[in-house]
Symmetry: C3
Subunit: 218 residues, 3 copies
């Protein structure tokens, strides 16, 4: 397996990303008026769903989320934090979004690397890198009966930064230049793109409706 | 593999649980005005979804639901029963709920044992025991476009009894005392907790909204 | 592995089916006002979702969709076609439905054969053949927050043609008569049934509500 960071550093980064993804799941559960159990389920699904789907698809069973106790317990802690402190967590939403962007950058990189380690090609590895980073959020929204924010035109782009980061990693692997430094740079670029998207309201284009037939949702 | 019961007893218990879970899927399909095919799909998904997800996660492919003909055919029978007799099935709702609670108790135990047999740790085994018992109902609700009743605060607790039963099993395994008797006791306790929850309307707490900011859904 | 067609023919048929399934995903994304990214995600999920679920269930990881570049890229091309030309694609809806019926016929056959190749029994192979043909559409609808059209009583039957085609294949395998010719016939029959269903508005029966208690959705 490719080791980009020392195991301790990798684990720490993973847990930070998992914690923040779990916060976003827990906060949506509170907004949806769910109980403590729903909060924890949504925290788990959001934080681990992308990685679990990746691991199922590459045949890495049981998924890391079920063999590493820290991965599993961290979302529960985040769920409890949200349960007791959700007004405070909502208030530091800016900080949460920043950490979420960090998680996005990190997971698109590590997801791509892991898929490649399991023998997948470049394009498939990029797809699984994006799935790792963004898949949990889709599961969160489906369970909460929300239109997946990943697919909504009126949300700042989320997948494109992950696409850029994952593509950089696949290219670095292809040219034999994946190192801790270059991988970190790819994660950083994905992070920065996401922060810019949030700051400047970047959105992706919709299919245009010609002849004045734009849809009524506008 | 751990055998808690003789194969015949195990198979019989499994089929009863699968049949009753399938009834709940079929009844929701009728309420949603689905056709005979939708009824059978929802019966299958509800009855087998939890176990299939567990088997995918532990790498036991093909899942038992696809290698044991009885597991697959039973939900179809339940679907047909609902199709022809749904008013009668609705009328004995109390009996259905009781059998559903039995299925919950049974599957949280067998799911935990199977996950442990495949090498998962205690916490992950408990999680997969709960998934086995409650996962099918979540798939049922998502397919029927209903907010998952597992996650709703205004429903009697369903996951907590499964959590208690699964945790007891993991503890029994850890201390080397899992026998047919102790496993049955764990299933019975989960069953009784669920029946009490139904009888007394037990619910789990939601995150409180301080400063009078309780949400409007109340 | 069973080869029904020469590899080139098989690949060509697969790609046509994938392309058309992807169009239906992309068109729903446009109707739901999604951006270019949502269009491509829905195109991918619709086109590949059924086969990916089948491959996960039979333990064929990574799924073909992730090891065959053509399978993965084709939905992206379909997504771009929809993005730029969706009014034109909507206009040839009849042709799209015809090609979709062809995909249905093809995939219910190849899905059943692949499941049998991986050692599954007849009934399970039929179920996985239907999942291959119809599963992507269910994922499409769930992601787009639409009641799955597969499960709606007011849509022309979709699963029944797949059931007939898959059952024919399983029977042909059982009697040792699966050849390119007989498999093609099964696919053709599923295709024709679907076209008839569209032309004559064939629907499946719902559970009847006796004593005049028909539901309000009617």
């Amino acid at each position: 397996m490719t080791s980009l960071f020392s195991p301790g550093v990798q684990q720490t980064l993973d847990l930070i990303g998992i914690f923040v993804f779990a916060l976003s799941g827990g906060l949506l559960a509170v907004r949806k008026n769910m109980d403590i159990f729903g909060i924890c389920v949504l925290a788990e699904a959001t934080a681990l769903g992308g990685g679990v789907m990746r691991d199922l698809l590459i045949g890495a069973t049981p998924p890391a989320a079920f063999s590493n106790l820290g991965y599993f317990v961290t979302p529960l802690v985040a769920g409890l934090v949200v349960f007791f402190l959700h007004p405070e967590v909502e208030r530091i939403n800016r900080a949460v979004q920043t950490l979420d962007a960090l998680g996005l950058g990190l997971f698109c990189v590590t997801g791509t690397v892991k898929a490649h380690d399991y023998g997948l090609g470049s394009v498939a590895s990029v797809a699984l890198g994006m799935l790792t980073a963004a898949g949990g959020g889709v599961i969160r929204d489906v369970l909460a009966m929300e239109p997946p924010s990943l697919l909504r035109w009126d949300r700042e782009i989320y997948a494109v930064p992950a696409l850029v980061g994952a593509t950089m990693v696949a290219a670095l692997i292809a040219v034999g230049r994946l190192t801790t430094l270059t991988a970190s740079s790819a994660a950083l670029i994905a992070f920065v793109l996401r922060m810019f998207a949030l700051k400047y309201g970047w959105r992706a284009p919709r299919a245009w409706h010609r002849n004045g037939s734009r849809t009524s949702e506008e």
